[in-house]
Symmetry: C3
Subunit: 418 residues, 3 copies
């Protein structure tokens, strides 16, 4: 074990800049455990949205590695998080992904906890038993305008407030707290979680793989090699750039912050955002580029808001459109399997079949997710080969992959130095 960790240290410090990682980062169960400890148990992990628990007594459970976490909305309307473990014999308290309760009652011996985690009742324990020491163990939780992040560590990274201050104004106009979950998909990708994130951080693969996503998205928005463009492509690229700048100016004038913030590898809680113009009608991530839901999310009348994208390290990305939000949480299962949980949110007053059609709402990203899962599986298969070696990232189209990997390596180095 020590030898293996020493070798993790060597792998971390020997990382070749501008290249994909050495194979064990994708395949080794030991490095997976180190990832869980260093990354997923110590950073802010995106796990869901406030509309997952819309009413007092609503409970949602989510698994971060071996830790099952409960998100609970208390009677005071606060959302809190606890470990899903009874303090008596250690039974899992809630088995369902979603439920509603008065109190949290362990099925095993009826130990009963309040929505605030306090142990209210524990029969037969005798007069010497002190229930005040046996409340549910709390988990740090922060809501960024309705996006829920938890941290399993005792001392979470301190930069969340700053991120909330900078990102809040971008997200707030989309009114996450006023939405409902129209649809959720859970997809298990047969690859390491870092391959899932790497794949998310570039659109170099979009042209060959995502016929649906490239309907609303401009490929130019994700980089290209200028020297390879023919005159027509070059003109299109320049036109796109002009559109982006004009749109930013227009949107910001409307009170919608839109310009890029790029902090992917410059802080503990790395993130990036930008509002991007969309192709066609420019309204939404749909096959006709028009809104999928008739009731807008926010107060802004104009439907052509483009798409506000928001990426966080280590495990999320989100697209805020004028009519809906699609939000992704990446939850590692083991070294070679990763859960991608996708939620589509619409205005909570929208009525299915009247204001929106589920198929149309989820069409683009359901197809895109399936395509991405196949690509991630191909990379996992390749990384297990003795012939695999780190390959070079494109300096034009894979800069954000490089930033994710640089962030990851620096977080691991910090962890190993402790």
């Amino acid at each position: 074990m020590l030898n293996r960790l020493n070798s993790l240290e060597a792998l971390v410090h020997g990382r070749k800049a501008g290249h994909s990682l050495e194979a064990p980062f994708y395949t080794s169960p030991e490095i997976f455990e180190a990832d869980m400890e260093a990354i997923f148990h110590r950073h802010w992990i995106y796990v869901g949205v406030e509309p997952d628990v819309p009413e007092p007594g609503d409970v949602a459970s989510v698994e971060i590695g071996k830790a099952s976490i409960l998100l609970i909305r208390d009677d005071d309307n606060e959302v809190r998080a606890f470990f899903n473990v009874c303090r008596h014999r250690g039974a899992r308290l809630i088995d369902e992904e979603k439920t509603t309760v008065g109190n949290l009652v362990c099925r095993y011996h009826s130990w009963t906890y309040g929505l605030d985690g306090r142990l209210l009742h524990a029969p037969h324990m005798g007069p010497d038993f002190d229930p005040s020491c046996k409340g549910l163990k709390p988990v740090h939780l922060r809501s960024l305008e309705g996006l829920l992040f938890v941290c399993l560590a005792e001392n979470p990274p301190e930069d969340f407030d700053e991120i909330a201050a900078r990102m809040g104004p971008y997200i707030a106009p989309h009114n996450v707290r006023n939405t409902k979950i129209a649809y959720q998909s859970d997809l298990v990708e047969m690859g390491n979680w870092k391959l899932t994130i790497e794949n998310n951080r570039e659109c170099y693969h979009c042209e060959a793989n995502h016929p649906e996503l490239t309907v609303p998205l401009f490929a130019y928005g994700f980089g290209f090699a200028p020297e390879e463009l023919d005159p027509i492509d070059l003109e299109n690229a320049q036109r796109y750039d002009a559109l982006r700048q004009a749109s930013h100016a227009e949107w910001e004038a409307m009170g919608l912050p839109s310009r890029e913030i790029e902090e992917l590898d410059t802080r503990v809680t790395g993130f990036r955002t930008e509002r991007l113009p969309l192709d066609g009608e420019g309204e939404s991530h749909t096959m006709d580029t028009r809104a999928a839901c008739r009731i807008p999310l926010g107060a802004v009348a104009n439907a052509k808001l483009g798409g506000l994208s928001f990426w966080t390290q280590p495990n999320s990305w989100h697209h805020f459109l004028g009519d809906h939000i699609v939000t992704f949480s990446v939850l590692p299962l083991d070294a070679e399997r990763t859960l991608v949980r996708t939620k589509w949110l619409v205005n909570k007053d929208a009525v299915e079949g009247v204001d929106y059609d589920i198929e149309r709402l989820i069409e683009v990203w359901t197809a895109t997710n399936a395509q991405d899962a196949a690509l991630v599986a191909m990379c996992q298969q390749g990384a297990t080969s003795p012939a695999y070696e780190p390959g070079p990232y494109s300096p034009n189209t894979e800069m954000l992959v490089e930033k994710f990997i640089r962030w990851y390596i620096s977080r691991m180095a910090d962890h190993l130095a402790q």
Copy 2:
């Protein structure tokens, strides 16, 4: 590996009295291997009953970890046990759980063994081959009034004779050898074997989880916090205690030993017994508390014999009623999966559909087993959480769990000291 075993030593010696075990005891594959070596390969393990092999030539196979064992009734009517491995190329000899043979013939190259394990025939081995050294490897086997215990070690614990002497008179009146197996169920519980046993050693969970079992069983028989009882409950508890003492006196006068023997943590082969009165009609573990089989097991005319319970460390429990026996063998599969094998025995002259109905016979324990399996799985899930920590046992209702754990820890400590 050494580090892990050292840490096992630390975990064993650091066990917190009165509390459930540290998580690795339930989850670690290394500690599972240690359990198999120290507990299941060195103690008397309950594997079945003589009626599993009623006739000469009958063979039953049973798996204790990676060891497949054959129980064979020889022509002299003796039951013997052997390892299920051919001495030539190591093939498993018998694949079925039950079969009947003349000799044991290996399918691979026709090496042929007698029912006493001697190698009778091995073709093509040449004149220098000595078959007398290549008989099947024997396994220690003891029958306690028809209950079969094996020990895989060369030198089994020596206390079995004493247990047989003390328990024999309790069990003998139920005539195990005169029964047949009316039904067997094999249930895989998704938890460590110790969680299965812990769950069996308390009825604190019965009220909330076992609506069927609590029909015949008095909850008071398994402990309560006296200070929590209201006057009505207290009176009921006192009435139950009087009934128990009166019943013991009555049954013992009939020649049925009934009073508690409690040796769960005082010896290598820990055990406990007591005959307990039943609720309602008081006859059997059925939903109407009447006998499930019209032909009694023994010579005693009175049907209201209560239930003689018998528990052994590490892996069995049994309930001997007037009309049938239900007997449980716990066989670990891996750190997180355990086989619970339940057999319902009735008088061998009883005719199914005439003297007993299978559904009625197995109703209570089939439901109870399924409920227990769900509880064990909840505890296993909880024990894998980083938030799990040992919780306190109730001093009123979980004393026998504590005794099991104390026995286990002391057996492991002994093993590590060798």
Copy 3:
């Protein structure tokens, strides 16, 4: 890990001659990894036949442990082998077992390789990128009269030329390159790969297990204990021996090399061959011992050519009949699972349903493979038992098993000494 490898060394050097291996050789994941490294990544491994890729642009993929290999026929009609890994992000290039391509295009980012492995196109990589260093990694490949062997090591064993020189004349008359694959079966045996090979290297088990195979095969051809034969058996054995010698003389006069070459444990690339007379009509491995295909493989008119058998260490055997070829490749999956891939080849001009019937062609070996898989699984089950110990090989019928094991042990010893 070091301890485990030291213990591998002890196991290798402590091997008991004339006996099956110690259990860890069949069950340990660590020794499986050592087998893959020492044996399957450094020796010539039989993977298929030229007719797997009959036309330019045809590609076949095959897995040797974690290495996926592509067999590709180039436009110059040469067959070449490459690792199935893109040099960019490491994606597996070809997912299908068989396909036909113009160039090899990675689905991920459209990196494009020629059939000779050169990187032809890599978009967006910028002017500093040098594609000449990023061709597909080649794998050593040799064709022995159409049988394809690969070696994953940089420096493959040097004795292949000599084997080709000695074996070529035996195989050439059967015209492998002029055949097509009439049928392929992939069977996963639930046992270690060495049990699969051991089982293949003796016919001691044939009488009790292979009713179909023993129709064309004479059991006498695979050894017996002379002192156990009764006078009739002895006369039959002598008659068989005379037939074999007369057949060899006759076939060699026809230009068909037929006499035994036995080099199973005398060289790095161990092998053995002999042409054996068949029972009944003597034509083929069929249930009526007549040819299964009306069009012969070669130019020789006489259909009674017996069966030329060819065995290689570590992973193949083959039977060349007058009318068809059946050829077996053994590919380990993990310590306890092994793929046996069987191909039946007929003259490429033969028409299914007219010149041959698939059922009749594959009948004998389909049954035999299934029987062998059951035997291998029995041995694997036995080897996991704590009661397993190495058993003695028959000096009369298991000499070739002993030679395989001796070869294996000597190859492992060589590897550990490096």
